[in-house]
Symmetry: C2
Subunit: 488 residues, 2 copies
């Protein structure tokens, strides 16, 4: 894109970013501040996205640390205190607070600054770490999941402190750097930092809106079990002519294992897998059925010949309230053009399960491992390793913080939010509930088809902008309730 | 390796290369010539191996042509005539002849100058196209399959012409450049060159010795059907949380397809697959049983927990006389370290079958394709494409050329050869038989565990050296029989 064209797009975007203000004003000074800093805000958002903080890839560890430092500098600049790039043993967690609202509630806000890997790179229409704006969309890895949401919290705080000199609540930030790589260091860190993390409730901004970009509060999240299956034959590939027929083929064996994990009806065949699944009540099923969901449009958008899932459940139930088993990656032998006639030396699969209450990730991993080894064909060696996991969670719909979030969403987006159970997993949600005993509100602004984890991830800049106002308004709503409303 | 050490190894090798001469002498002048040119011969062998003529990879097309030109120059240099780098529409075929033995039989010799891909590159102990000598072994891609065998034919011819000024037989060479990528242009070229390829019989040098490096003549070869299965879901990867449970996973679907191709008893489940398989006679089974085969040592060398194959057949029968189905490569989704929580957009497998008489590769491909589509799970798109194939063949054990080859092997290697049915496929064998109506002798010198198609491919330099003497002696044996012995 030419420089002149870039300037044009940028001007149009800044306009889009500022025209949302009329209907969503918190107060005049706040809005004026946001108006005046629109260009600077977009530039800062892009700057954050440009750092390739892929937590799963060891070579990007310095980038993760650089992102943490960038956020810490920004936090200091806007007036947050006790800013700390806190060591975890892995990628650091950025902590900061502002505690000068005596008698007001204290809120702990969580986002994550790490992002997913970017392959397949050739499917991106622009480089993943060079964010570009197209109309109301900003494209780039992390613009939605979760740097965009982290950034809007920074900007809401900045605008409040700049225009009022204070915040309506006591605010604590914990920004993680390992959410996309199974949060292995999170729980020990939470435990070690229990005192400075004390709060009346937590807000996690890492979720999105419902189909059609309808404002939503997520009240249920699935957990996760992530494993790798490695099937090994000989030390090197064999000639498929010289050895074909005489030895087990690791790739065929792996396929047999994977095929044995699920029935044609979509049921997972791991013994005991469903034992701890809490059955949906009629109320649950009615709530799913009441959501405005156009299955034909959903199918059309996905471009699939048909939807497919566990028999006896609707699509929304399948992705919100039922556990899953998906292969996330497969590799073995020759992947180039043309033909190579080998029996591969080894074959590998990454397989994960989304879990629902009350499934336990460790128990599910053990059941999975035992079953894989039981059905592994003879003549090869099969191993199963854990790549992490997280507990499922359901958050209270009638908590005063949830109600405050709902009022803030309605005031800024012009309609009451939906309450949804989402298929994704945010391990920190269960950790906050279990380790810190904190009620959690899942307040997220991603559009539902944002392509998180895929090429061409995008964020709707209108959601981002209105999100800034929603957060500020929510703090006002929470402050108005007073601390007693959150007594436990 | 230091330069001094290199020189040492090289001297030792040249000694190894020349000490084989005593027991295998054709005539004194011939042996003296080979002695005097041992260092030059090894250098020339390495030079040929250094050109990375991987026919399956388009970026190596210039290397394939360069290899053809290298061979053509060598042929001209040693005194072969009508040398022609002949266009095929793909990689060229090198033709040459020497036709000054009136009344003597005419022999067409086939080898191929293209090689297999080299991945996984990290398992090579030295770079695949930088051949190194370790004791009696030379390592590098193509040192055995098939550049080593091609090169020993060049050197046998060179030594005969240099020492006698003539050859005992009329000799024609056809060196192919697409054997490792399904020989798609071979049959049309054979048909178009029918006249200049006329001969009394053909010798194909692209096979090896039996277990224990025992001299062998291959009398049976399997054919091949090579296919790729592509399973496609959405245009881009999906977040496995947001979509898991609602859509079919292409990688799971591919595993289901592959698992459906074979039963746990090793039988291939494609309907009609075994219809044209000629059942083994008791004579066939007795011949297999009579081969000196140490199954425990074989298993030990492979380092596997157990062998595995079709029920009701021995290991040698399974790999020599029964058809197979093997996955040669698999890929889908995320293959990096750690976890990436996606439903892959697509999944792919390369799958090939080794075929036995009278299976037809085209019929087997159609049956395979129809069955894959029939068992493909719903909710994804499945496609099957052909990557080529070749007919199986069995060559006559009692043909005078086979007998001459046997005598030459016995004279040079000091023991009678075994007659074996090999699992590999050499499409040109069936092509010579069917298109050119030529009897074929499969005279090859590779050690049985040479790791063709795998990392660290190697050739036994003693087989290579003795092979040169075997070829020269065979031409003498054939000439002694006279042309009438080959009348058809």
């Amino acid at each position: 894109m030419s420089s002149a064209r870039t300037d044009q797009v940028r001007a149009a975007t800044i306009e889009a970013m500022t025209t949302t203000t009329a209907s969503t004003a918190i107060d005049e000074a706040f809005e004026r501040y946001l108006d005046e800093h629109a260009a600077e805000r977009l530039e800062s958002y892009k700057e954050l996205v440009r750092i390739p903080s892929i937590s799963a890839l060891p070579q990007h560890a310095p980038d993760c640390r650089r992102t943490a430092e960038w956020i810490a500098a920004d936090l200091r600049h806007i007036g947050m205190e006790h800013v700390d790039v806190s060591e975890t043993g892995g990628h650091p967690i950025v902590y900061a607070d502002w505690l000068h609202a005596p008698g007001a509630p204290t809120v702990l806000v969580y986002c994550h600054y790490d992002v997913q890997p970017v392959d397949p790179l050739d499917l991106w229409t622009s480089p993943p770490f060079e964010p570009v704006v197209e109309g109301h969309r900003i494209l780039g890895r992390g613009v939605a999941d979760d740097k965009g949401q982290l950034h809007l919290h920074l900007r809401a705080t900045e605008a409040l402190l700049a225009t009022r000199g204070s915040l309506p609540v006591n605010l604590k930030f914990a920004f993680e750097g390992e959410e996309e790589s199974s949060s292995v260091h999170l729980d020990p860190w939470l435990n070690a930092n229990r005192d400075r993390l004390s709060a009346d409730f937590a807000v996690i901004s890492d979720t999105g809106f419902f189909e059609g970009n309808l404002p939503a509060i997520t009240i249920g999240l699935r957990g996760m079990m992530y494993a790798q299956v490695d099937v090994t034959g000989t030390a090197v590939d064999l000639h498929s002519g010289g050895y074909g027929g005489a030895v087990q083929n690791p790739a065929n064996a792996l396929a047999t294992i994977i095929a044995g994990l699920k029935g044609p009806d979509g049921r997972i065949l791991v013994p005991g897998f469903y034992d701890d699944v809490v059955a949906m009540t009629q109320v649950d099923r009615d709530a799913f059925a009441a959501l405005p969901f156009d299955e034909a449009a959903y199918l059309e958008r996905l471009g699939l010949p048909a939807l497919f899932g566990e028999e006896g459940y609707t699509t929304l139930e399948r992705r919100g309230a039922r556990p899953t088993l998906d292969v996330n990656g497969l590799w073995s032998g020759f992947q180039g053009e043309g033909g190579k006639t080998i029996i591969p030396a080894h074959a590998h699969a990454k397989i994960s399960c989304r879990l629902v209450p009350d499934q336990d990730p460790d128990r599910i991993f053990e059941a999975f491992r035992a079953y894989v080894l039981a059905i592994a064909p003879p003549g090869v060696r099969t191993e199963v390793q854990s790549l992490g996991g997280g507990h499922p969670s359901v958050t209270p719909i009638d908590h005063p913080a949830t109600r405050a979030a709902a009022r803030a969403l309605e005031a800024t987006f012009g309609r009451e939010p939906l309450y949804i159970r989402e298929g994704g997993s945010i391990p920190v949600c269960a950790s906050f509930e279990n380790e810190l005993d904190l009620p959690v509100v899942l307040l997220g602004f991603d559009p539902p088809d944002q392509q998180a984890h895929a090429p061409n991830e995008w964020m709707d800049l209108r959601n981002y902008e209105t999100g800034i106002r929603t957060v500020a308004r929510m703090w006002d709503e929470v402050a108005a309730l007073g601390r007693d409303a959150f007594a436990r």
